[in-house]
Amino acid sequence: FSYFYGKPRWGRQAPVILTYAFSQNNMIDYISLKDIKTVFKRAFSRWAQVIPVSFMEIEDYPSADIRIGFYYRDHGDGQPFDGVLGVLAHAFSPENGRFHLDASETWALDFETVKSRVAVDLESVATHEIGHILGLAHSSVKEAVMYPSLSPRSKKVDLKIDDVNGVQALYGSNPNFTFSSLLASENSFNKG
């Protein structure tokens, strides 16, 4: 794991509660908002299970700590998207909170119903970008969620030890978290 320069984190007193909201004007229309919200809730909960940080969705976009939207090409932050595949998304380090996904991608919730060869798993990318929002930079561990690349039609949503160690060094451990559950998950992954 690695961190952004200066090792920034959300600096509030524990327990940290971060709010998130979805842009009303910059969303995709072929996946329902309800389904998108379910996917993001699951992605946030994965991180919340390992650190004493909780996430709460709110409606007021401008005041949210984390602001999520889908954007095409140049969208004003100096990091234009590039169309199909290439860059899938980006998010900013603490305590910026901007979370942008490339609207040109074919975002998918599952690959049973979405047959495109260039479909990208929304939950995997959401989980990765939340890592950036929390303060993790890219990892060189291929199995880690924070590894920078993700193939089309692939899924990587379970945090690995590398991800957990990195984020817990920033925020401490969730008192309810045990490494045994993670190891069981990883063993299952390796056998697969």
């Binding site: 794991f1 690695s2 961190y3 952004f4 320069y5 200066g6 229309d29 072929y30 996946i31 990091q79 998207f81 590039d82 169309g83 199909v84 595949l85 290439g86 860059v87 899938l88 998304a89 980006h90 998010a91 380090s93 074919t106 998918a108 119903t113 979405v114 047959k115 495109s116 060869r117 260039v118 479909a119 990208v120 990318v125 990765h128 970008e129 950036h132 930079a137 890219h138 990892s139 060189s140 561990v141 291929k142 590894y147 920078p148 690349s149 993700l150 193939s151 089309p152 030890i161 590398d162 160690n165 990195g166």
Partner: protein, 119 residues
């Protein structure tokens, strides 16, 4: 083209020609190594610049020459992403470069204190 359907959401996209996807053209640099010159390699250098591996040159334009500085950038990229470190644009490296990825830089964000910890 995307054809969303109303209730049973089946999305079909015409992808018979995937060469239009970003970075696919980088495959033509396969096996290039130090000293080689391939037209368009400057675009590859821009990719390395974008993700934090190569600074913009003093003259502001990247050349098409695979020089020593570019070799160092390739080595840093391979090291950072857990690839075999060859310093060449081998198939593993090219495959990784054409893969979709996060837009956050791999190294610029770390300044001079970059440390990647492997476990």
């Amino acid at each position: 083209r995307i054809f969303p359907e109303s209730s049973s959401t089946v999305i079909t996209v015409d992808t018979h020609n995937t060469t239009t996807t970003t970075w696919h053209g980088f495959t033509r640099f396969l096996d290039a190594g130090k000293g080689s010159q391939v037209s368009g390699m400057s675009e590859l250098k821009e990719y390395f610049n974008r993700f934090g591996y190569l600074p913009i040159p003093d003259e502001n334009n990247f050349t098409d020459i695979f020089d020593k500085q570019f070799e160092s950038a390739v080595i840093a990229y391979q090291t950072n992403l857990g690839l075999p470190v060859t310093g060449k644009l081998d198939s593993d490296t090219i495959s990784m470069m054409v893969s979709p990825r996060c837009g956050v830089s791999d190294t610029k964000t770390h300044g001079t204190t970059f440390q990647a910890t492997k476990h």
